[in-house]
Symmetry: C2
Subunit: 325 residues, 2 copies
C-alpha cells in the first residue's frame, strides 16, 4: 500500500513514525504548503510542495491528511477527496455531520473513498461507545479524558498578557471515575468530571495573581472547572512538561435481567506517552482499511463505524480467526 | 427483526432477558429438544419442540443457538444454518477454524449467513485484541479473566469423590495486572497471571485433606496455578456464591516513535454481574447485524471481525455520527 502524508506537523510526524512498524506500507512522500526545502523529515522521506500532488494521482493509494480541524480540514478534505482516497482526523464533534456531507459529496462524484474523524476521540473512543451501547442499550455512557495535555487550553493560557509559555493538563476526577466504574451511574457536572492543572511561565515582573485570576475565570475553558495554576521556570517547563501524553476512558454502565437486576461495566481506556504518534498509528491502520474497501469498489465518505475490524489488520482472515478470535 | 432462541439454559435465558431492552426485536419463540410442556419461560414466550422449527423457516430472521461448545454447537450450527441465519457462541478457541469451515460450507450452500464465536471471549475481547494490535503492531497482548465463575473448573471439582457442590473463581494476579498496565510488557507464566479460588461443600465425613490435594494437583485445571480451597456449608454456597459474575481485561502495551521511545497501553475491560445475561446481550446485538447483512445478500460464515460496528446498533448512520462519533 502506497500512502502519502499531507501536512507535516506533530500528527504528520506521528504517521511517518508509524510507517516503520507496518511492513505492508510504503510512504511515497510528504506534501506541504510550505517551501519543501525548509522542511526536513525525521525518516529522510522526500518532501514535495502541495502543488505537486496532482502528478501523483496514480501513485498514492491513500492520502493521510494531517491538518487542523478548525480551518484546514473543512477545506482540505473535500478538495483532496476529488483526486485521492483520503483519511482525516476531523475532531470538532459538533460539526461532524456538516463535514461528512461536504466530503461525501466530493468523494461520491470522484469515485474515491474518504474516512473522516479517525484517531482516538473521535475514533477508537467512538467505537467503544458504539459497541458498549449496542450491547447494553439500558445504560449510561461516560467519557473521561486525561491525564493529558490539551493543546487548545495551553494555547488559551499563552494568549494571556504576561505569559511566556504554558502547558495545561486535563485530569479526570478520581472520585467520579471510581463511582462510574463501581456501576453507580452518577449524574456528573462538568466540574465533577474533570479538573485542570496549569503550568505557567510568567514574564519577568508580570502580575502572577492577575494571570492566575484570568486563567481561572476564563469562560468555557476554565471557569466551569476546578483549576490549579503553578508558576514554573522555563527550564522546568522544558524538562518536565515537554511531552504530549494523553489518554482517557470510555465507560458504559448498564443493566440486564428481567428486572434490570444485574449491572455490567464496560471500559475502554488509553494511556498514551505520545498523543500524535498514537493518533498517527490509528490513521495508518485506517488507511489500510480504506485501501481495501476502495479496491472493492466502495466510494463516498465513511467513518470508523463503517469499517469491519478485519479490514484494519495486516493479517489474513484465517490468521485472525486462528490467533486473535 | 424476528428472532428465536434454540436451547434454553442459562445463555438462552440471557438472550430472552435481553430482548426487552431492544425495541426492534421480536422473540418468536424458544425451541428445545426437551418436552416443551416441561419448560416454563421467564417472559412467558411460547416454547416449541426443536422438530417444529422447520415450519418457521420464513418466520425467523435470525436463530440464536444457545448450546454448549463441547458437543452441541459443532453439530447444531452447521445443521441449523442449512435453513436459518444463525448466531452461536462457540468458544473452544483451538477448534474455531474447523467449526468455521463446517458452518461456512453449510451456509454458503444454503445462502444463509452464520456468525460463530460471538459473546465476550471470543467476541468483544477478540475485537479488542484486533483493534489494539492493528494500531500498535509493535507490542504485546495480555488477556486476563476474572474475577469470575468458571463453569468448567467448578464442574471438575464436583466430579471429585466426596464433593457435594463447588464454585471456582478465576482471579487475575494483581501484581501481573499492575505490571502490564504500567507498560512493563512482562513475560508471565500461567501461575503468574491467574490464581484459582475454590469454595467446596464436602459430604459429611469426607476426607477434606484428600479433596483439597486432589483439587490442587489436578492437571491442566489447577496444578499450574496457585489454588486456594475453602470448605463451606451448602447454605453459604447458596447465599454467597449463587451468582454468575465474570469479566476480565484485554491489554495491549506497545511502542511507537522513530526509536520506539514511546509506550502506549490500550485496555478493554468488563465487570459483569451475570455472564450469561451479558453474553446473551452481545448475541442479540450481533443478530441485528446478521439480519442486516443477510438482507444485503451476504451468505456464508463470518465472525465478529467481519461486522462493521454500525451494523450492531439500532441507531441510524446519521444518529451514530451525530451522537456517538
Amino acid at each position: 500500500m502506497k500512502i502519502a502524508i499531507y501536512g507535516y506537523g506533530n500528527l504528520g510526524r506521528g504517521v511517518e513514525a508509524a510507517v516503520k512498524y507496518n511492513d505492508d506500507v510504503e510512504l511515497v512522500g510528504i506534501f506541504t504548503r510550505r517551501n519543501p526545502s525548509t522542511v526536513k523529515t525525521v525518516s529522510g522521506v522526500r518532501v514535495y510542495h502541495a502543488d505537486e500532488l496532482k502528478s501523483f494521482k496514480n501513485g498514492i493509494d491513500v492520502l493521510i491528511i494531517c491538518g487542523g480541524s478548525a480551518t484546514d480540514l473543512p477545506e482540505m478534505t473535500p478538495t483532496l477527496a476529488r483526486n485521492f482516497n483520503v483519511v482525516d482526523s476531523f475532531d470538532t464533534h459538533a460539526k461532524i455531520p456538516e463535514h461528512f456531507n461536504a466530503v461525501n459529496e466530493a468523494a461520491r462524484q470522484a469515485g474515491t473513498l474518504a474516512l473522516i474523524s479517525s484517531g482516538w476521540d473521535p475514533g477508537l473512543f467512538s467505537i467503544a461507545r458504539l459497541y458498549s451501547s449496542a450491547v447494553l442499550p439500558c445504560g449510561s455512557d461516560y467519557t473521561f479524558w486525561g491525564r493529558g495535555i490539551s493543546q487548545g487550553h495551553s494555547d488559551a493560557i499563552r494568549r494571556i498578557d504576561g505569559v511566556v509559555d504554558a502547558r495545561q493538563y486535563t485530569v479526570p476526577v478520581e472520585e467520579a471515575l471510581a463511582s462510574v466504574r463501581n456501576g453507580e451511574a452518577p449524574e456528573l457536572t462538568t466540574r465533577q468530571k474533570h479538573k485542570r492543572e496549569c503550568f505557567v511561565v510568567a514574564a519577568d515582573g508580570a502580575d502572577k495573581a492577575r494571570i492566575e485570576a484570568e486563567i481561572k475565570n476564563m469562560p468555557n475553558y476554565f471557569a466551569d472547572y476546578d483549576t490549579t495554576v503553578s508558576f514554573i521556570s522555563m527550564e522546568e517547563l522544558r524538562s518536565q512538561h515537554s511531552g504530549m501524553p494523553h489518554g482517557g476512558s470510555v465507560i458504559r454502565s448498564g443493566k440486564t435481567g428481567f428486572s434490570a437486576e444485574n449491572t455490567h461495566t464496560v471500559e475502554f481506556s488509553l494511556k498514551l506517552d505520545s498523543n500524535p504518534e498514537f493518533t498517527g498509528s490509528v490513521l495508518l491502520a485506517c488507511a489500510r482499511a480504506i485501501n481495501r474497501k476502495s479496491k472493492r469498489g466502495e466510494s463516498g465518505c465513511i467513518t470508523v463505524f463503517d469499517i469491519a475490524p478485519a479490514d484494519l489488520s495486516p493479517l489474513s482472515p484465517e490468521q485472525l480467526r486462528a490467533h486473535l478470535l
